[in-house]
Symmetry: C2
Subunit: 302 residues, 2 copies
Amino acid sequence: MTVKSRTGLEEYLQSRKKMVDEALERYLPREQSFPEVIFQAVRYSTLAGGKRIRPILCIAAAEAVGGNAEEVLPFACALELVHTYSLIHDDLPAMDNDDFRRGRPTSHKVFGEGMAILAGDALLTEAFYLMTKKERGERFKAEARLEVIHEIAKAAGFFGMIGGQVVDLQSQGKTVDHDTLYYIHTHKTGAMILASVRAGAILGGADTLCRDCLNEYGKNIGLAFQITDDILDIVGDKDLMGKTTGADENMHKVTYPSTMGIDKAKQQGITLVKDAIAALAPLDQRADPLRKIALYVIERQL
Amino acid sequence: MTVKSRTGLEEYLQSRKKMVDEALERYLPREQSFPEVIFQAVRYSTLAGGKRIRPILCIAAAEAVGGNAEEVLPFACALELVHTYSLIHDDLPAMDNDDFRRGRPTSHKVFGEGMAILAGDALLTEAFYLMTKKERGERFKAEARLEVIHEIAKAAGFFGMIGGQVVDLQSQGKTVDHDTLYYIHTHKTGAMILASVRAGAILGGADTLCRDCLNEYGKNIGLAFQITDDILDIVGDKDLMGKTTGADENMHKVTYPSTMGIDKAKQQGITLVKDAIAALAPLDQRADPLRKIALYVIERQL
């Protein structure tokens, strides 16, 4: 099966994003809860209008093997909470020291550094709270829920996102080689994208073959996504990205375009997307949203 | 049943602490793993020789209702990882700004602020990774494991430890009333102590009556523990505490002794310990370690 067009994708993304946004709004405690400031802080960052790529990938992977979008929501939203925590901590002065994110001042600029650290901690904790809440996941077998939680904890941990973040932090202001950059991208961003797809596969009840296909898709799409982000950060503009363009360059960060040139980086992104789509060959048309998302990832840069 | 002596407690604490220390050593990745610095940082803080009160309470609660200490270890150690993460973040310049902990320089003094934030993040994540690892908890039903993870996430989250930390941070340099102080203590420390006991009760297979007894014990012991800590922080010395004595006073923090005087605070601690022991009345001699730990908590201050 070949997918040449993104027809219908906008509609799919919109509808799934709406489900995720509404669920996040429902799951997060009200701003009136005590102590108010922490709920203001987590809602400020979480409901700031991200693209919800991770939860949508989780939902789309589940649907690709016959799962139900609504039922997957607690886990899909947990992925977004983990992502949001990582952004808040990543933006801190001791880390990337970013003042803007998604077009708004970052958490520590609004709530102070101490509260931003706690907001990140709270979101990470809440992700696991949400996934283990009895009424949220009773549709699934307890064993499957444990497996999904384990996948997410692994991807967010030492040998996943944290590892990537550590190497990224150590590389600031240094010239790093391509292998190091590859490590950072596949760990800092790639691991959680892959986990989103794998979580959806498990919850959707994928058999071994489908799991392998989705795993291959997730790996390719994760790296493609980060390469595209690198490119956008150079050719994009502030309005499109909602953060200061060229920030990575200013920090002397090494990116795919800076190690191999923009054209070669674009080419690599296209190859990864093709591989991602090819990996889905054994899956039927229920995997079309995943195929189209792959195209979307690469076309964002145009 | 009345327990008048702590006879045999040292031995119990030593043996269970040894099990916990050895398990933590086993569970945490080697320092040679890549990227090395994060493993150095988490091992530096986790293996720095804490008293392991939370894991021991978890084990003792499980044993009190017929559970097995070895089998409970992954969950007991997860509680210690969550505790250690909270200490690392609590010590940060944007929070309590402490230079010493357990007699050694704090994480951010050794590894830098960014790495200390990541070390805390990693430990919190690793706690959930550990509890969901298949081979670690296969003795227990998946439903029980999910319930324990949920208890711990809840106690560490918005309406538990994070909430207490938020109010504590907001109260720095201010005079707070007794209710606020009570909130901070029961949330910042009490919630995780209670969760340790509750986790042990679930894993040990406690029936509803025993769960209720252990819950009551956990609530009382949690507050007693924090009041004693407050007292020790004033009357203790640097060698005993391993951190700068009087630090809370220097920060103009309100403590139980500062709102009600040392003698009344001591009296309150004794009452809570008596209530904790009384709550265990329906349990047999397998709950003796819990009874003795209660006495230990209050006698630490002598």
